[in-house]
């Protein structure tokens, strides 16, 4: 399994006539662990979605270094999961093994064993038989991480994965993310907690004023840069009202 970096080359995205970010150039090398930071509306989610090909580029290009769609594991920010649907925690995790089972294949003993392991890894083994609507929000997030574990994805993209989680849950799941990194997977995570970024993420992409500033965390997350990224009013562009 050899693949190259995910690269952005002078890429830009425009949504409904308004540029979100432009002239973004940079790369996520294989096995790297990068945080994406920036104010609300800076275009962090849009960046993840652009890599997945869910939003079209207005300019430039994005190369995936030979990765295919199914090599990505993605935890979106706005989830349209029907949590009232009567499906069990175990079945939800098993759906993560889609690459093995497909739409019709059987979930054999090894797959089920892996599902049980994944649930144990996120501390949900006691809830395995429950329905998903019987989980708390934090437990449900653990479940989504267990499913991500099942997918065995090469690149894992997380959009604000720890929002609304308590400290122990955040620590558990962050440890899992670091484990994935240690296994050589590429991690890209949108985060708002600067402390988390500083302690766990060697690289950062700071979206600020329609631009992306790319580099080592210590060099990017300086007080001046953060001031500019978070304190300036909404960025304006030529042509749009100031």
């Amino acid at each position: 399994m050899s693949y190259g970096a995910i690269g952005l080359d002078d890429a830009g995205v425009t949504l409904h006539g308004t540029p979100v970010w432009q002239h973004v150039t940079g790369s996520f090398p294989p096995g790297s662990m990068t945080a994406i930071a920036g104010a609300n509306g800076a275009g962090k989610s849009t960046l993840l979605r652009a890599i997945l090909g869910e939003v079209p580029l207005a300019a430039g290009r994005i190369t995936l270094g030979g990765l295919r769609a199914q090599d990505f594991g993605y935890l979106p920010q706005a989830r349209i999961i029907d949590r009232a649907f009567p499906i069990s925690v175990t079945d939800m995790v098993l759906s993560g093994a889609w690459r093995q089972t497909g739409a019709f294949g059987a979930a054999g003993r090894t797959v089920r064993q892996r599902a049980a392991d994944a649930l144990r890894r996120v501390g949900l083994e006691k809830q395995a038989g429950r329905m998903i609507d019987a989980l708390s929000a934090g437990q449900f997030q653990r479940l989504l991480f267990a499913r991500l574990l099942m997918t065995d994805a090469t690149v894992i993209m997380l959009d604000e994965p720890f929002t609304a989680l308590d400290a122990p849950t955040t620590q558990d799941l962050l440890a899992l993310v670091r484990e994935w990194h240690a296994q050589g997977r590429t991690i890209i995570a949108v985060l708002h907690d600067m402390h988390q970024i500083r302690t766990c993420f060697p690289h950062v992409v700071l979206l600020s004023g329609g631009q992306a500033i790319w580099g080592e965390t210590a060099r990017i997350l300086t007080p001046g840069m953060l001031q500019r990224a978070y304190d300036t009013p909404q960025p304006t562009w030529a042509g749009s009202p100031a």
Binding site: L52, I80, I81, D82, F85, A103, M131
Partner: protein, 291 residues
């Protein structure tokens, strides 16, 4: 006549009662499970809309065959139902109307159109048949059609089971896996349409959706497991067919409404008796769970 004899005698004596019984059992078996999924996808309204959409198609079939021809009306109904499903999907993709809002505007149009077409050529009796069905006049070919539709829908449901369920729960994840979520959605809508067409022969346009919705709503009050829920929904539909026919026979009432009202009675009973019914307050753990 003993009570026991009253239970089987109508069916032993009359062929049309036997056929009606087989028809309602067949309908319940197919429509019940489909109805459960339809409700879980929060598409009850769409089921209602589709049942109306079938009418103009069936009416054109009626015109083409020059009378109440099962095949022509069934085929017309399927074509119209699928057409409306596709059209509504397109409209909701183009505009920002929710899918059920676009369905609702189609179905009134369809209903008016269907009534217009049938009443232009046929008698009032024909119109009544089309709107309310003729379960006591079901013949051999109609039964074969219903049995075929039920067999096909149970087979298709079990075949696309996993992608269909996952598409309901988490469509975004399905897209990530590269599955054709929209395709399974269309197959499912197809199942809804053919089951409504099957019911249409027996219960008419206006009531065929009842066999799909009321047993499903009843089953949801008793279990939270999907497969038992679907089995229960089918059971309720089949039992209501049997009971409704008996009631209609002994009290000389119209058969179709008796069957649907028996479903309703089961629903009311469940609402009161089931642990997650009224007594639980709010119908479950969340006020937004059920319809």
């Amino acid at each position: 006549m003993s009570i026991l004899a009253g239970l089987w005698e109508p069916f032993a004596t009359f062929g049309f009662m036997r056929r009606a019984l087989v028809a309602s059992i067949t309908l319940g078996m197919g429509a019940g499970p489909v109805g459960v999924l339809l409700q879980l996808r929060r598409m009850s309204l769409i089921g209602d809309a589709m049942s109306h959409a079938i009418l103009p198609g069936a009416a054109i079939g009626f015109l083409a065959a020059g009378g109440l021809s099962l095949t022509a009306m069934g085929l017309g109904g399927i074509a119209a139902g699928l057409g409306v499903a596709l059209l509504a999907g397109l409209v909701s993709r183009r505009t920002h109307l929710a899918e059920d809002a676009s369905f609702a505007s189609f179905y009134l149009t369809s209903l008016a159109l269907g009534v217009l077409i049938v009443s232009a050529r046929g008698s009032n009796i024909d119109l009544l048949h089309v709107l309310f069905g003729t379960i006591l006049a079901i013949d051999g070919p109609a039964l074969y059609l219903m049995a075929g539709i039920t067999t096909l829908s149970l087979f298709l449901l079990s075949f696309i089971w996993r992608p269909l369920v996952m598409e309901c729960v988490d469509p975004g994840f399905m897209r990530m896996t590269g599955s054709r979520g929209a395709l399974y959605h269309m197959v499912f809508l197809f199942l809804v349409v053919i089951n409504l067409v099957a019911g249409f022969e027996a219960l008419g346009t206006l009531m065929s959706v009842g066999m799909m919705m009321v047993p499903a709503a009843t089953a949801r009050l008793w279990t939270r497991r999907l497969v038992p829920m679907m089995a229960l929904s089918a059971m309720v539909g089949m039992l209501a067919g049997f009971t409704g026919l008996l009631v209609s026979y002994h009290f000389r009432l119209a058969a179709g409404p008796c069957i649907i009202l028996t479903c309703s009675a089961a629903y009311l009973f469940s609402l009161i008796a089931s642990p997650v019914g009224i007594r639980a307050g709010g119908g479950g753990s969340s006020p937004f769970r059920s319809h």
